[in-house]
């Protein structure tokens, strides 16, 4: 048995967006899938609870989850090429999602909503009847976004929605995600390995390492005053467009994201952390409040300030 995720707690308010960042294999997607109730049969939620508008999703029945999925919580998947059915027109695929969850809706109303969704994601109406292969990668990702919004959910989980896309297209998709999130006032969990992208889109950031959440807070706080050594490493390895090129000769440590063992004791980052002291191997750091909107799980923060 392998523990993919543990010690993850966060709360997300309506109208806010939380970005989960971390290396590949750190458990980001597992969290998204657990929230959707889509974990593979080999995976099990051993403990903890997920409260969505007060209702526990872990103990909810399959039938109830099926109701909630898409109409309350929907997801934008990573590979837009694979998430659409190649033999159906995109308009029919979006309509299918609406009809499945709201069977009482007239076909006229369904068509109306599909058009409105296309407008929201800025795809011309003339392309409603096209097939997925006629769209570019960015357009397909927009269709996926439209589909995720089809049933007016109150929470959207976006799992690396721009990873396979080009810089300019990525920027456009991120803008359109940020816009609909503000306009429709829904909550969003945005999963990405790129902290710069998350900082651009989300109001809050949660940093994950080795299956645990290690830092959480408002984007400004986490990005500008990273407190956890791993967050500092992440922010430090961002290449920026500054006047002076970064010093590429400075030493950095080797990250092994698969290093999460069995249920470990101590801090998951202690082996790689330059400032680790013996207590890091034994003690589990609890959440330390650095400010009203910034928390970190690191024994160093308790020792003497976050910076």
């Amino acid at each position: 048995m392998h523990t993919a995720v543990q010690r993850v707690s966060f709360r997300l308010e309506r109208e806010r967006s939380l970005g989960l960042v971390g290396e590949s294999g750190c458990g980001k997607t597992t969290i998204g899938m657990a929230l959707m109730g889509l974990l593979p049969p080999s995976a099990q939620v051993l403990s903890g609870s997920v409260l969505f508008e007060g209702e526990d999703l872990i103990s909810a029945s399959d039938a109830r989850m099926r109701e909630i999925r898409w109409s309350e919580i929907s997801m934008i998947f990573q590979a837009a090429m694979n998430a659409l059915n190649p033999v159906h027109r995109v308009q029919d695929q979006i309509a299918e999602a609406i009809i499945t969850h709201e069977p009482s809706l007239s076909s006229h109303a369904v068509a109306h909503r599909t058009r409105a969704l296309f407008e929201l994601v800025k795809i011309p109406q003339s392309r409603l009847k096209d097939y997925p292969h006629q769209f570019s990668g960015g357009m397909r990702q927009r269709v996926i976004i439209a589909m995720a919004l089809a049933c007016n959910p109150s929470l959207i989980i976006a799992d690396e929605p721009t990873t396979a896309l080009d810089v300019i297209v990525q920027d456009q998709i991120l803008k359109s995600i940020a816009t609909f999130q503000k306009e429709t006032k829904i909550g969003m969990i945005f999963i990405s390995h790129d902290i710069a992208v998350v900082a651009d889109v989300c109001t809050d950031i949660g940093v994950m390492y080795g299956g645990s959440l290690v830092e959480l807070g408002r984007t400004e706080d986490v990005f500008h005053c990273p407190a956890h050594p791993y967050t500092r490493l992440l922010v430090g390895s961002l290449l920026t467009l500054s006047d002076e090129p970064a010093d590429l000769s400075r030493v950095s440590c080797e990250i092994d994201p698969t290093a999460t063992g069995e249920s470990f004791v101590g801090c998951p980052f202690n082996e790689l952390c330059a400032d680790a002291f013996p207590a890091c191997k034994k003690g589990e750091a609890g959440w330390i409040e650095l400010s009203k909107s910034h928390w970190v799980r690191c024994l160093l923060a308790r020792k003497g300030g976050g910076e």
Binding site: S237, L238, L239, L241, P245, S252
Partner: protein, 325 residues
């Protein structure tokens, strides 16, 4: 950098791909992947080629190493035309020019151990004997940051992480001690912190071995931090070229500015937006036109839609192909 002799020169290279429209037979439709591309890379420098996917970056690298042939134009390495090289000369050329591919999950043979992978180029070029090969492989692995090298020799690609695989690919490229290295988006499949380490490694190779490099990327930030000179390519044409700081800190071409706009900017406070990208694309005129005309906000009627801009010098080493300048 200016006094250095050119190591690689591409002049007026054109590459056309014919597209088959239907399942059967070929149509006349064709795509110009490279359109009069001219690039000069000087010995000892890292040249960054930046552009979006489909702009022809990878095609350029494939033409240089001879995986494909250009339809017209010249590619010269150390003054010698590389097109049509055969026999001994071709072998000498491939020894000096190595390539690192984008995806380390696909570029390594799953059936070969790390030793076999890195040793293969030595075997092909008939370098050394068993003993000296083992020594060279170990050296290459340590150079690429895999230490102790002995621990990796017997392993297979599936036992390594993405970053480690890319290091193996780098070791394989470096084992022949090439003079010229092409790195084709070497970090696009890797996590941020791992990418940073790969950039460090490439920089290290230049410092310690004096390798000249063509670094292909879609990230201006990567180019800014690693490269000496940067060329921006759009639809197979070079639209702007200059030192990394000229091209990125004082961009001129609207497309370079659009790329800069698209870069996540949360970290940098001094960020300014150029807004050069048109939201809805113009229809493409039938006549010759600037490749960026359909998407350019500041395109001029009867100028940009009727002829192709030439490469103009606008400063020391700084060139741009745009009618606005």
């Amino acid at each position: 950098m200016k006094t250095a002799a050119p190591l690689l020169v591409m002049s007026d290279v054109i590459k056309i791909y014919r597209v088959s429209e239907s399942l059967f037979g070929k149509s006349d439709r064709s795509v110009r992947a490279l359109d009069h591309l001219s690039i000069t890379i000087n010995a000892g420098e890292i040249y960054g080629l930046v552009g979006e996917s489909g702009s022809g970056k990878t095609t350029a690298s494939r033409l240089i190493v001879g995986l494909e042939e250009a339809d017209s134009g010249h590619i010269r390495f150390e003054g010698q035309d590389v097109v049509g090289l055969r026999g001994k000369r071709r072998k000498a050329f491939t020894k000096n020019v190595q390539i690192i591919f984008q995806d380390p999950y696909q570029s390594l043979n799953a059936h070969l151990s790390i030793f076999e992978t890195v040793c293969e180029p030595l075997v092909i070029h008939g370098e050394g004997d068993r003993q000296s090969r083992l020594k060279k492989v170990c050296e290459a692995l340590s150079t690429a940051g895999l230490s102790p090298p002995e621990a990796y020799l017997g392993r297979y690609p599936h036992q390594l992480s993405g970053g480690q695989r890319q290091r193996v690919a780098i070791a394989r490229a470096m084992v022949l001690e090439p003079r010229f290295l092409i790195a084709d988006e070497p970090t696009s499949m890797l996590d941020t912190s791992i990418s940073f380490q790969i950039f460090q490694l490439l920089n290290q190779l230049r410092v310690s071995f004096g390798v000249t490099m063509l670094f292909i990327t879609h990230s201006l930030a990567a180019a800014r931090n690693l490269c000496d000179r940067v060329g921006v390519i759009y639809r197979g044409r070079l639209v702007e070229e200059g030192t990394a700081s000229q091209t990125i800190m004082e961009p001129h071409h609207p497309y370079t500015k659009a790329l800069l706009d698209a870069h996540p900017h949360f970290g940098s406070s001094k960020h300014r937006r150029y807004n050069t990208l048109k939201m809805t694309e113009r229809t493409v005129p039938s006549a010759d036109h600037c490749p960026f005309y359909p998407r350019c906000r500041s395109a001029m009627k009867n100028v940009c839609d009727s002829s192709v801009p030439v490469f103009k010098k606008i400063g020391d080493d700084h060139h741009v192909a745009c009618f606005l300048f």
